[in-house]
């Protein structure tokens, strides 16, 4: 079986927010929603202080609490491990938002606007329309899809997922520090498995929530 996952080497991150923006232009997330932000926090006391960075996104959990909590079945875990929300099915109960330990789910208010205020260009997914949901539904939630549309496009067109830019999540492709790696966690020879073997075993965020994320971290401060 294929189980798509991401390894994030936090030690490499330089906090440039390229992933944050690449995600937004790829998925055109509602204007105030950011699916893949880089979290910052201060540590230490002057003069031995510093700023730390942590790239985040939906953790695509094996035991996804959003899937469990969702009353409408709008959020599903695909066979390849990607947790994806069907905004047309979503009723906007927001149970998933309270259930997600990572704050990875965003709600577009009924009165909200799906686009950036002042934005003059509707950015589009980089692969043909049929692979991607472009319009966000007011009153529904939206979330990171691991750029499932790119993965599907890549597989259908024989591109190597996690390597070819059009078959790899946008946040991974853009990263100047190359701190995000995407691949098949079930394949011991995949890029992600090899990276975990070299730098692993890999931690997860909020281990207390017992969600078994497919987004793994190494080099956490």
């Amino acid at each position: 079986m294929t189980r798509w996952g991401m390894v994030i080497d936090a030690e490499r991150c330089v906090g440039c927010q390229a992933c944050t923006v690449a995600c937004k232009t790829e998925n055109q997330s509602p204007h105030d929603a950011w699916y893949a932000p880089v979290i910052e926090w201060e540590a230490g006391v002057y003069p031995d202080a510093t700023l730390n960075y942590l790239p985040t996104l939906c953790n695509h959990c094996e035991d996804a609490p959003c899937v469990t909590a969702c009353p409408s079945g709008a959020i599903k875990r695909r066979d390849d491990g990607i947790v994806i929300a069907d905004e047309d099915v979503c009723i906007g109960s927001r149970a998933c938002m309270a259930a997600c330990p990572y704050g990875a789910i965003n709600f577009l208010e009924n009165s909200g606007t799906a686009s950036m205020p002042g934005s003059s260009v509707a950015s589009q997914p980089s692969v043909p329309e049929r692979y991607a949901r472009q319009q966000h539904v007011p009153g529904a939630i939206s979330k990171c899809t691991y750029c499932a549309h790119r993965i599907d496009y890549g597989i259908e067109n024989g591109l190597e997922v996690g390597v070819h830019p059009l078959a790899t999540p946008a946040c991974v492709v853009t990263c100047p520090a190359e701190c995000r790696i995407f691949g098949d966690l079930d394949n011991p020879d995949s890029n992600v498995s090899r990276y975990l073997e070299a730098k692993g075993p890999g931690e997860v965020l909020r281990p207390d929530a017992k969600t078994s994320p497919n987004t793994k971290y190494v080099g956490l401060p």
């Binding site: 440039c16 390229a18 923006v21 950011w34 002057y46 260009v121 950015s123």
Partner: protein, 832 residues
Amino acid sequence: METVQGARSGTAYGDGWVRSACTICLNRCGILAHVNDDEVVDKILGDPANPHNHGRTCAKGDAGFEGLNDPERITVPLRRTNPERGVGVDPRWEPISWDEALDAIAQKLCETIDDDPEKILYTSFDVFHLRGALAASWVTGLGMPGYSTWSAAIFCGNNVHGIAYMNQNAFEGTPDPDHSKYILNFGSQFGSVVHYDTMHATRALSERRSDVKMVSIDPVCSSAAAVADEWVPIRPGTDAALILGMVDQLINELDIYDAEFLKNFTNAAYLVGSDGRYIREPGGHKPLVWDQHNGAQPFDAGTADAALTGVYEVDGVEAKPGFQVLKDHVRSYSPDYVESITTVAAEKVRRLAREFGEASCIGQTIEIDGVELPYRPATAIWYRGLSAHKHSMLNGLSIILLPTLMGALDVPGGLLGDPWGLIGKVKDRTYTATASPEGLISQGFIGGGRVGGLYPPRKARAPRTTEMFELMPCAPYGTVFSLLNSEQPDLFGTPPFPSMMINFQSNMMKTSGPPEIVERFIKRIPFVVSISRRFEETTEMADIVLPDLHYLERLTPFVFQHLSSGDGRHSVYGAKPVVSSKIEGPVPGEPYVDAMQIYLELARRSGTLPDVYEAFNTIAKMKDEYRLDPSEQYSYFEICDRWLKNTFGSDKGLQWHLSDGLWTDDKTVEEKYPRPFFEARAQVYFEFMLRARDDLERKVEELGIAWETDDYQPVPDWKPGPAFERTAPHDLFVVNMKVPNHALSHTHKNPILSTLSNRHNDLKSVWINPQTAAGRGISSGDRVEIETSQGRRQTATARVTQLVHPEVLATQAAAGAGPKAVTATRSTSTRS
């Protein structure tokens, strides 16, 4: 009308992807931009084939397509009908034809050229001016002194370029990210995604995180300091003291320096008399060195073991090697003294010096491509942090000592020149530097802009413009003096004031000094033209506004010439129209692809086109078959075609540029690490400064101008800037900082990037240390009012943070660009 566009196929990504270049910041990444069926650019990727950014983009580049369909874009030439100019005053724009606009400007150009062409002030920089030889030819052809990098005077690395040319024959130096082990980062953003060579450095340093120690010396824990292994907070404006303290530790206490390198590749052994001047061969020009066996010899007499230290007697005169003078000089920078100036603990000064010295691996070598080269994996980088205040040049001359004394110039692990003495040369590149008669790397004047080198110093002349650049024999820019001359016209004997200004892609009001002073300066200029994509403060001061293009609509053949030293490949590439602009251009029947078309058309209408062509033939080193015939007229496209063919060969003209346009090549080992392969020397003793001072003092005395010349000294010092002596109640320093998701002021209007900034609150807050805040009862989120000693006031939101020096308030650079007062004008005038 035919269209000229970048090819939409040919890359590995299928149809719709155009290879081009991002010009949002100076790193200038290679990109692939996607055009959809509606002719909308909807995605930007890094070009994986481009070795400069290896398929990556930053936040700015990802969001770069914003602005293309901006409803507030300027689409037609506009003329002011309200004679009253000022910020917030409605210019009452009236649309005019290109013909009218160009004729009006050309007429003014003719009048000014007849009077004094140096009274044409051509300003640019915010959106980087990348037209190289062509723009240089235009200003030369019209008789201007060069284009004025106005904003650069405030935010650029003022001392960086001249010093890089002096010691590296390059435009600037950056650490070798592939081999360095220790990097001292003095107030620059190296290692974050803001700098030259940034994508390569970011990737290489991320890959080698555990092998490299990065130390960031900065009053603010910037994003680069956050990535570094250690942040060393320092009192603003005192870096030179720390650097000279480290130099003292290295050469006086630890005895760590690369003696072989200093003897053979620098002027360290050149003998200096008690007057500070070189002791030269009798009746000749060559400086002498002390040969242990044969006494004083000319520097190039093949002395194998010239003395670096000691006191000698040459023809009855006491002589010391320059290195000995430096050694004696830096003894006054003891760690305790340094601590009292910088607030960096004396113990830390010692430790940093020791770490740096030990990491320099003096004597070690490394094999690159089968050739054994010196391995000096410790270096230092600086930029604006050491530049943006008084005594900037002394700061730069201090810090270049660190890599120079360690022999870490253009060798593996050291400070690498970028581009390495090669501007304009692609195919016929040669790796050597011109040596002056003194045997020193000689590069006086750089590029097409008004960017001056340091050595040899230029001869002082009477000022021809308010910039007074003629009285700055070793400076790269003089633009701030225009403001001073505007405010106090009699201060320096009233140098000629500009009669007209052409402002290109630059919002001087935000980036070039206190806005109200810049406003008064612009108001005094009788005729102002601005070429801009949208209204900002400076453009709203113009008499005539011409529409500019978005970078994804431009044809710019040479955006990037990455001919640097270091591992990796050469690459040269340009920008091409990813989509065609819908805006009508200056030349009827010709698609509008670049502001250069405006310049050429202005040259034609002002009768200076033949001069521009001649200048171009010379500056671009045009071969016979591609030279422009001054009696003919060429379209911008024909010129680009010839220019490209001249550079890359007959098969690589405009069509090649549009369909591919990416030139890459392997580097030889001499190109990767050139220092061991040429003879011209770097400097550790700056004797030329004394000569420059003498010449300058003679000139200003003759002109009757009061002029400071104290900083022209052969060994650098730390000197307090005017802000150093703080007097109550103005007891804090205000510094500004930079985030990686903005470049200059022009990205602040990008809706994606500005929304992101709102999330971070990075552009609106002022950082204050908890110690300082507590004493003033300030908590995070409070609105605070800041008053400067010049009486300027500004309110901001406080962010109480450990990430800033207790004596410092840190704010964002160039934040909040965009007109506020004249929104109504904006929305009505552009619709016409």
